[in-house]
Symmetry: C2
Subunit: 513 residues, 2 copies
């Protein structure tokens, strides 16, 4: 067995059975090994950023890493923007970058670069393998490192001659390290804060936004009156009509400040103290008011749900709140804005769907509607590298082939990684991409307006018209069926059809200003 | 004047008057400043890799840097693959990356990253500006550093509050540092080698492939019998029917070895000793035979043309060779392979055109025809980060608006950065993109075949069918008129029309196996 096959077999032994790839000559053994190790599912992407974002989406839904294979330094470089987002999501990923043969790397060839330097910008763990004897052990270590709480990117750099040489033993199965519960004093101190009667909020992120973490937060809110907050840039939240819904802190500080005004305590769970997305003139970065004390109940690598459960028990919060929300009416008529998109998606989303949100400036009004949708998973972009949404949806669909995936994607943001559509078509994935076409970088338009009037040259830089993008043609050009909606009625008909039929499918929603 | 305007004005004073950009909120002042500094031409790209590749193409043709503006770490990260190629081309570029405000950078916000670490992977010079007082001086230093021979990327990291604060003085004009001629002993030693009568070759790259460098090499070949070689991965070569044409060393070592067999001396000019693209089993990396002595006449940062001129004088090589090549016949019929593409382009290319080559596996047969085309500039991909061709053509067209630009692009390679087409449409650039559609990663297919039979799973990873890409729709989706050619006759008609009419235009050439 050669090094490439040994790496695959060791990954399989560690439950890593998907490899998103964009290989080159130096990774050729990883291509030929697929026929000898067919249990490793290989999925080809036509741009490396798509591999990266898809590995993130997969990890968020499968709760285990995928591998992602890149062509040396430049291939890895093309993935770094979306690996940045993946790092911020704390998603476990095993990245593999090929390298020149040992005797070739000394020369100034076109592809020569410092692969380790590229890797370290986003990886928590990097190893360049020197010999096929050790590739199995290194692969096990990489999977373990990726799953070190809260999850991170581990990168293996594999020279071509290592991949084709006779390998040593397979690496062992290594049990994923578990999140630790916080110390009991932390629970007691948080309980003391809640009992103080002073205005307090929990701020949840990470794994606290799913399952028993969210349920415990709901019980705490119902019993103690504590407010429960979250941000917009979490990895995964379980949402929908029967689920407890934390309040979402708005994006802009002037909108966030009234929401948190008066709070004397903010207890963070699997989160750093929340800050605004950018620093603004005359505004504080921290979301919490100046006289609000911050308390960390669980750090990002600890077990937030266990902490919330223990806190609920400590506070005697045993009663779950009654949650009864109904899906909104399906809108109709000619008006089509993010509100009608949100109402339509909320009305028609099937139970168990996965919503991937990169709606950017259209996101808040759409997201507000989704608390009333059928129960679903909601994945947000965590790192601000624009273009993550379509790859994220691709990865979620690979992890959950039986669930409908809906990508809410800006027209500007979708353009960074539109190649994801081709892989959706090739793998026949059940993804519906909704392109929110306002034909500008609207978030920048909002920021420009906050700063005062913008001149024509500035306005030109945020205008995506001249020429308009035609997302129907772009999708069809990659084998994805597509339609265009210019009214709420058209969007409802097209989205309803897309919910009934298997995907992939794209709807370009032309938004009105 | 604020920091952003001061940076622009200092760049203008240093003849940098183009900024390729994909801005975000932290770079907003660079957007609003455009209306106050309208001499700075801003060109919007929908993906950062396009900015990077275009900056490379611009620098190669304008012989001075463009600026390229990116949104913090993730925006810069998205550009790194193509900045790698730019670095390998030794193209001067002034990269600008935004950064959080001084008070915001301490917090763990979504966009926070080590921007300097991203920048240093490809930049020869990096400075994070701490105060608007010094932004002018830093901008001058960045332009100077970018133009330090042989040319490199310099990166300025500009916090948002620096960009909006009142700036200090404009930075000075700094004369670009000039390439030095090599010492006269080098010339005499090279002349001694040529006079020895032992088989010798010059290997040219960098600025030695244009103008008087190439002419001097032609005189040396005609007078002394020295062979003149180059590789495939140079920045820019002047080519065509009336120009001296160096022999091109083939890509694969088994093809290169007979070409260089018997050489006892290889004299490199603005080049590292040439090596194969990859290391292969049982093959040496160095192109030169084992018993061939390597001699550096001019290092990559020295003045190769001056060295060649001096060597020609030293050898008494005053007579230019007679070069008389005629364009090939325009092919017709149903067969359409890279050969017919090359013959058609060679027959119809107008004088002064710029050809950007990322034809990958189709490249050698096409390129071989172009020695017979009208005089033109030929730009190759230098770093092996696939997807550079369309952005390169975009940048060349921005530098030379009066010249026809032809991009020869693989269908696989074009997909990495297809967003370049939108900017070509918006800026109404005279670019004709020829997509060489073999519907697979054919270069990998060739490598697989070299290794023996490939199984069906391996073959699937290099197959770009299932579904086929439709480049006509992809182009039209971004506002570029497009046609498809399936025969030599169709291609000739479409290419002829494209040479007559202003672009942009795309021709998808469906190649036969």
């Amino acid at each position: 067995m050669n090094g490439a096959a040994c790496l695959y077999e060791t990954l399989l032994r560690n439950r890593v059975n998907l490899c998103l790839m964009n290989p080159g000559t130096s990774e050729l053994e990883f291509v030929t090994a697929l026929d000898r190790v067919p249990a490793m599912r290989a999925v080809l992407c036509l741009f490396e950023g798509v591999c990266a974002g898809a590995a993130d989406g997969y990890a968020r839904m499968a709760s285990r890493p995928a591998a992602a294979l890149f062509h040396m330094g430049p291939g890895l470089a093309n993935a770094l923007g979306y690996l940045h987002n993946t790092r911020k999501a704390h998603s476990p990923v095993v990245a593999i970058a090929g390298q020149h043969t040992a005797w070739h790397v000394a020369y100034e060839s076109p592809l020569k670069s410092d692969i380790g330097a590229f890797a370290r910008t986003v990886s928590g763990w990097v190893e360049e393998i020197r010999s096929a004897d050790t590739i199995g052990a290194a692969a096990s270590a990489a999977v373990r490192a990726a799953q070190e709480p809260p999850g991170q990117i581990s990168t293996l750099i594999v020279p071509a001659d290592v991949s084709w040489s006779e390998a040593g033993e397979l690496g062992p199965f290594v049990a994923p390290p578990e999140r630790r519960a916080p110390a009991s004093e932390k629970i007691r101190e948080a309980a003391r804060i809640l009992r103080s009667g002073e205005p307090a909020a929990l701020f949840l992120s990470g794994s606290a936004l799913v399952g028993r973490g969210l349920e415990a937060a709901g019980r705490l809110a119902a019993s103690t009156g504590v407010r429960v907050l979250t941000g917009r840039f979490f990895s995964r939240m379980e949402r929908g009509s029967n689920r407890f819904a934390p309040e979402r802190v708005p994006y802009f500080p002037e909108a966030a400040e009234p929401v948190v005004a008066g709070l004397r305590h903010m207890i963070v769970v699997e989160a750093a103290p929340p800050v605004s997305f950018f620093g603004y003139r005359g505004r504080r970065s921290l979301v919490a008011p100046e006289d609000c004390a911050l308390y960390e109940l669980a750090s990002v690598d600890q077990d937030g749900p266990a902490a919330l459960d223990a806190l609920a028990a400590e506070c005697g919060a045993t009663q779950s709140p009654r949650i009864l929300r109904r899906p909104p009416q399906l809108p109709s008529g000619t008006r089509l804005t993010p509100l009608e998109i949100g109402q339509t998606v909320a009305a028609l989303l099937p139970e168990g769907a996965i919503v991937c949100d990169e709606a950017v400036s259209s996101g808040e009004p759409i997201s507000a509607c989704l608390d009333e949708a059928a129960p679903h998973d909601f994945l947000a972009v965590t790192g601000g590298a624009i273009g993550h949404g379509l790859p994220l949806a691709l990865g979620a669909a690979l992890a959950c082939p039986d669930r409908k995936v809906v990508a809410l994607e800006g027209d500007g943001s979708g353009m960074y990684t539109l190649q994801a559509l081709w892989t959706m078509a090739r793998e026949r994935l059940d993804v519906v991409a909704v392109i929110l076409a306002n034909r500008r970088y609207r978030i920048l338009g909002i920021e420009l307006a906050r700063n005062g009037a913008a001149g024509p040259l500035a306005s030109g830089m945020i205008d995506l018209g001249r020429p308009d993008l035609d997302w129907v043609k772009l999708a069809e050009g990659m084998g994805v069926a597509a339609t265009r909606a210019g009214t709420a009625s058209e969007f409802a008909i097209q989205f309803q059809a897309a919910m009934r039929e298997p995907g992939p499918r794209l709807i370009e929603a032309i938004l009105q200003a």
